[in-house]
């Protein structure tokens, strides 16, 4: 494994916070809309951002991929969105869950909450809960909007409507703060979604990225491609001393030395920064270093 690869991997890992902040900013360019309570309506909204970012956020620059998926499949004309699915597939094949680790605003939000000093709890013993996000993807995002429709053939965006906390955080709260009509219209559905957001916020303080681990359908989708993505993690088996430091520091409960393309690995690079012998790096190949 070249020293350039190792250095570059360390550099990317070290610059992660800046990259995350930049991704949040680029996903929400129109900050001036926030006090005015209106949303951007320009052509950038034809394109999806890679992470979970509500398109009803006044600052949002692009479309939320999860919302867009449901919007098309819930329409009277289509059952599935080839446009959004194709886009997500390409991102998944190229980057895998690197999007989660570096480009998702809601992922970064959870990480910031986790920095709040408190007792922290491990999620290692509740690993089966990770499968829930695949059920959310399949049922709430893919099946229900297309299958459960009204008399005009329109389906609700079930994930956005009943589960997504980002809609409350980025959409409802800033819009309600600036617009009294929206504030007056909020009812029981908002109360439910606010409770979901509150639960995610509290959980994020106590656990590392609980929404990403257990509920995020976008993470579930990208996870399907983690094993074969072009960008992957690589462990130099010759250099590795099996100290398990990487497994100990991993917030996603992944032992990268056992499975470099693990579906739960968000490619955050914390293992890279903490490896005492620089055995781990990002790679644009298969991730298998032959002896």
């Amino acid at each position: 494994m070249g020293s350039i690869t190792r250095s570059l991997s360390r550099l990317i890992s070290s610059a992660r916070t800046w990259i995350q902040a930049s991704a949040v900013f680029l996903s929400n360019l129109f900050l001036l809309n926030l006090p005015e309570g209106r949303i951007y309506q320009g052509n950038l909204k034809k394109f999806c951002v890679p992470g979970l970012n509500c398109y009803s956020c006044p600052a949002a620059s692009g479309a939320c991929p999860v919302g867009a998926l449901q919007a098309v499949s819930g329409s009277s004309k289509f059952t599935i969105s080839f446009y959004v699915t194709g886009f997500l597939m390409m991102l998944g094949v190229l980057l895998g869950r690197f999007v989660c680790g570096f480009l998702c605003p809601f992922g970064w939000f959870q990480e910031l909450l986790h920095k709040i000093p408190s007792r922290k709890f491990s999620t290692k013993k509740i690993k089966p809960l990770r499968h829930l996000k695949y059920a959310v993807l399949l049922i709430a995002v893919i099946i229900l909007p297309a299958a459960v429709v009204n008399h005009t053939g329109l389906g609700d965006p079930y994930f956005c409507k009943y589960i997504c906390p980002q809609g409350v955080l980025e959409g409802a709260i800033p819009l309600a703060a600036a617009n009294s009509s929206i504030r007056a219209a909020l009812g029981s559905l908002f109360t439910w979604k606010a409770c979901v957001l509150a639960a995610v916020i509290i959980s994020s303080v106590l656990f590392y990225r609980p929404f990403c681990k257990w509920l995020c359908p976008l993470g579930a989708f990208y996870a399907l491609f983690n094993r074969i993505s072009l960008l992957n993690m690589q462990v130099d088996k010759d250099t590795c001393i099996s100290c398990r430091k990487c497994a100990d520091v991993c917030g996603m409960d992944v032992d990268i030395t056992k499975t470099s393309g693990h579906s739960e690995c968000i490619r955050c690079g914390v293992c890279i920064k903490n490896c005492p012998v620089d055995a781990i790096s990002f790679t644009c190949s298969s991730g298998i270093k032959k002896r």
Binding site: I39, Q41, N43, K45, K46, C48, C54, Y55, S56, A60, G62, A63, C64, G67, A68, A71, V72, S75, K77, F78, S81, F82, Y83, V84, T85, G86, F87, L88, M89, M90, G92, V93, L94, D156, P157, C160, K161, C164, G167, V168, G171, A172, L175, A176, I182, A185, L186, G187, L189, F190, T191, W192, K193, A194, R227, I228, S229, L230, S286, I288
Partner: protein
């Protein structure tokens, strides 16, 4: 051999994704995405 198989799957999925993207644009899905994204999503913000 395992690396070649992964590479083949990768290329296949990339091509499939590209074709799906193009097909989706061709059948005007972008309009639906755009129309949804430029209006306040009442479901998303909890109005329903």
């Amino acid at each position: 051999m395992r690396i070649k198989k992964k590479g083949a799957i990768r290329i296949l999925l990339l091509v499939s994704g590209s074709l799906m993207l193009i097909y989706g644009i061709f059948r005007n899905e972008v309009t639906y995405v755009f129309n949804k994204a430029v209006k306040i999503c009442l479901e998303c913000i909890g109005i329903g």
